[in-house]
């Protein structure tokens, strides 16, 4: 089992698409909707996203605390999760 963490925005169509794709494939994942956070939590999440992805674009998918996929890149998600 891979550990999958998704940084998402509630407003972002690719975040919805990526989550739907993971759901369809029965992948379990944790997700945080960054735009729903407030105050310090929001700041911390934004900083973390910038640190790991180098930008502010979503979704950011982290697999096994190690590889980072920016955007809904189906091909890479597939490869990394062995779907």
């Amino acid at each position: 089992m891979h550990k999958v963490f998704v940084y998402a925005l509630s407003t972002c169509p690719y975040c919805r698409a990526a989550r739907a794709y993971l759901d369809e494939n029965g992948v379990e994942y944790d997700v945080v909707e960054v735009d729903k956070l407030e105050g310090e939590e929001y700041k911390a999440a934004v900083d973390e996203v910038r640190r790991i992805s180098g930008g502010t674009a979503f979704p950011v998918i982290v697999i096994d605390d190690d590889s980072v996929i920016v955007g809904f890149n189906k091909k890479r998600i597939k490869e990394e999760l062995g779907l």
Partner: protein, 221 residues
């Protein structure tokens, strides 16, 4: 008691159609159009309207505001001018709300191609937006570029004069030469050469097709 003043870019009650009318003509100049998948366009614009309600402006639904105003202005829709090179390489804006005009099926571009690199032809404006004998500045990625039109030929060179860094696009076009607005150094727009020693400026390839002017730049990578 007066209402609290919210700085708001679009009037209350703004609709998807209003946004389309506002953005359409502008992105057309930049060489883009709305995605061919209209349900997707409506989806993105619906999100933008939600964000407008919360924040007062149409920030990008796919990126997050950092709180740093200098950075956040770069993600107000349409943000194409800030990311011309990258978007041209992936043929769409980050969200996919807009695609290059040449794209026939926008659904093929869903998802994201990461970190484009290499050479890319970037649309800058329409042919009729620059009359003959004129020169204008465009920012492409980090590069400041002056695009000149001589008759029906287009040329692109660095916008920065090597003398004291004046913007060449504010200068005067005289045949194939641009005269710097500040102290009159002359550059040949065809090859960037000047008579002053070691002061040539770089040039960029230009192509014209489908009524648009494209400048070729190299993006990191």
């Amino acid at each position: 008691m007066s209402e609290p003043r919210v700085r708001r870019r679009f009037a209350p009650g703004t609709t998807i159609e209003d946004l389309k009318e506002y953005m359409g003509p502008f992105v057309d100049r930049l060489g883009y159009k709305f995605n061919t998948e209209s349900w997707f366009v409506d989806d993105v614009l619906t999100s933008e309207l939600e964000i407008l309600e919360q924040t007062g402006d149409v920030y990008c639904p796919c990126r997050v505001r950092t709180g740093d105003p200098k950075e956040d202005v770069k993600i107000i829709c349409p943000c194409i001018p800030f990311h011309r090179d990258e978007f041209a390489a992936i043929k769409k804006c980050w969200c996919g709300l807009f695609v290059l005009k040449e794209v026939e099926d926008g659904s093929e571009l869903f998802g994201v191609i990461e970190e484009p690199s290499g050479e890319v032809e970037v649309p800058v404006f329409r042919v009729e937006d620059l009359p003959p004998g004129q020169i204008r500045h465009v920012k492409v990625g980090k590069a400041d570029i002056a695009v000149a039109r001589v008759g029906d030929e287009f040329f692109a060179l660095s916008n920065v004069c090597r003398h004291a860094f004046a913007p060449l696009a504010d200068g005067f076009l005289d045949g194939y030469h641009v005269m710097c607005p500040w102290h009159g150094w002359r550059y040949d727009v065809r090859d960037g050469t000047t008579d002053h020693p070691d002061a040539d400026v770089r040039t960029y390839p230009v192509t014209v097709r489908e009524g648009h002017v494209f400048v070729t730049v190299r993006i990191r990578g």
